[in-house]
């Protein structure tokens, strides 16, 4: 479903990604872990081309996005992303936030998109907030709206870029519960997170990154109980006090 081949990304002198290869089969729940600056956000942003790789190939759903004149916008319709800072549209109501892109981008009828939006808002437990504006919601609620907005695109792939890192501690759980619930379904998920509990509970596979490389790749059991690299062990010892 997602294939990264020899992907590198440089920001000036900074090498954010160094020759990364990664293949994510359909339906997999992949969690990417790593210290800050390890390149995990850059990696996930290369999947939907919010970052253009400096070299290498990105293939999503059978389309090579790094090719010249690739239909990037078309592929993005089925690759939803949830951001660390929510990035809801502040001038639109919650309902409009969720329904807008299906109507404008996909050409879904307004009534149909609105109805679907209400269904997804209900699923994230926010149907009573449909007419509010994002600024009137708590961080946790905003992120759940962002998830509903992503779901209303009926994506094949969902990318989560540190979805709980900007939240107050007491709101992390309500967002994680929604994501864990989603992970029960058949959708392909890539989640960059610092939430080890989530990785243990919901992931099929954990990838550990450091200095722009993938240095550990395996099941959650492998990762937490039997890590191979010293760097991984050091990281885990710091994070699982």
């Amino acid at each position: 479903m997602i294939e990264l081949v020899d992907v590198s990304k440089h920001f000036g002198h900074l090498k954010a990604l160094r020759h990364v290869d990664l293949e994510v089969p359909a339906g997999q729940k992949l969690v990417i872990i790593g210290p800050s600056g390890s390149g995990k956000s850059t990696l996930i942003r290369c999947v939907n081309m919010l970052e253009k790789p400096s070299s290498g190939r990105v293939i999503v759903d059978g389309v090579e996005l790094t090719a010249l004149r690739a239909p990037v916008a078309k592929v993005r319709q089925s690759v939803a992303m949830v951001f660390q800072s929510f990035n809801l549209y502040p001038h639109k109501t919650v309902l409009e936030n969720v329904a807008l892109a299906p109507i404008v981008v996909c050409g879904v009828k307004k009534e149909q998109a609105t109805e679907a939006a209400l269904t997804y808002l209900k699923r994230v437990g926010l149907s009573d907030k449909a007419d509010k504006y994002p600024a009137q919601l708590s961080g946790g609620q905003q992120q759940r709206v962002a998830i509903a907005r992503a779901l209303n695109m009926h994506p094949k792939i969902m990318l989560f870029d540190e979805p709980t890192s900007a939240l107050d501690p007491e709101m992390i759980q309500e967002v994680l519960e929604v994501i864990i619930d989603l992970a029960q379904g058949g959708i392909t998920m890539v989640v960059v997170t610092h939430e080890m509990g989530f990785a243990k509970e919901a992931a099929d596979r954990v990838v550990f990154m450091d200095e722009g490389r993938i240095i550990e790749d395996g099941t959650p059991e492998h990762f937490f109980e039997n890590p191979q690299h010293d760097r991984t062990k050091l990281f885990l010892s710091k994070i699982l006090r």
């Binding site: 916008a73 992303m81 549209y89 502040p90 807008l100 404008v104 981008v105 996909c106």
Partner: protein, 235 residues
């Protein structure tokens, strides 16, 4: 009462003498006609400036190299040459370039102020777009919006709130700048006033009233700009 007035010298003779005021007000129709021309040039010029400014502003804020360079060049050219020369160019040079071309003077005024203020408005629009956080564009792109679609539905509606006060100030400048067409016999308020004043030497009252006319057109907009500024500060 008349004794009182008789003792005030400057109302009896000189540039502001009462007969001059009387002459002006019995010909006030001339100024009304000029005002209508000014309002037409200002409103159509503003429409042109808004369209140009929005398109150029989006181009200037984009990551496409050639449109961005074009917008830059346009803005620098129009911001760094006098409006008067631009109007003279359209008035004198264009008809020489395309012989037989006749551009009505009102159209020259609309093109002149429209293109000139289009440059300024594009800078306002560009700054407005760039003030919207990068995350908004990324969220829109990640949902499959094209760049233009993201601008239209997500970025520009948000930028509009920020941009409205400086935009209103541009409208005020534009109204005042329509007066340059007086120099090419534009038939606008400035021209009408000047033509009347010159005929009999009633400069004093005429310029006061013409100035007041511009003030009445601009002041409500300036107030509106201040109101909008206060509102954006609250938001």
């Amino acid at each position: 009462m008349s004794d009182l007035i008789a003792n005030i010298g400057f109302l009896q003779q000189g540039p502001f003498a009462i007969p001059r005021w009387e002459a002006l007000f019995s010909n006030i129709d001339l100024l009304w006609q000029g005002t209508i021309v000014t309002l037409i040039v200002a409103s159509l010029g503003l429409a042109l400036a808004l369209v140009l400014g929005t398109v150029l502003g989006v181009m200037a804020a984009s990551h496409w190299r050639i449109p961005r360079a074009f917008a830059r060049a346009y803005v620098e050219f129009y911001q760094n040459t006098p409006l008067l020369i631009q109007v003279f160019m359209i008035f004198n040079a264009l008809p020489m370039l395309f012989s037989g071309l006749f551009i009505p003077v009102i159209t020259i005024g609309i093109l002149g102020v429209g293109m000139y203020h289009g440059a300024y408005i594009s800078e306002v629009v560009r700054a407005g777009i760039q003030s919207i956080g990068r995350g908004q564009l990324e969220a829109a792109l990640s949902q499959g919006f094209t760049y233009i679609g993201a601008m239209r539905y997500i970025i520009i509606p948000q930028a509009m709130r920020i941009v409205l006060p400086p935009l209103t100030n541009q409208a005020v400048s534009l109204i005042k700048n329509t007066s340059v067409i007086a120099i090419i016999a534009g038939g606008d308020l400035m021209y009408a006033g000047d033509a009347f004043a010159g005929r009999f030497g009633h400069y004093g009252p005429t310029y006061v009233v013409v100035g007041l006319g511009y003030f009445l057109m601009c002041f409500p907009l300036a107030m509106l700009a201040r109101r909008l500024e206060d509102r954006t500060r609250v938001l």
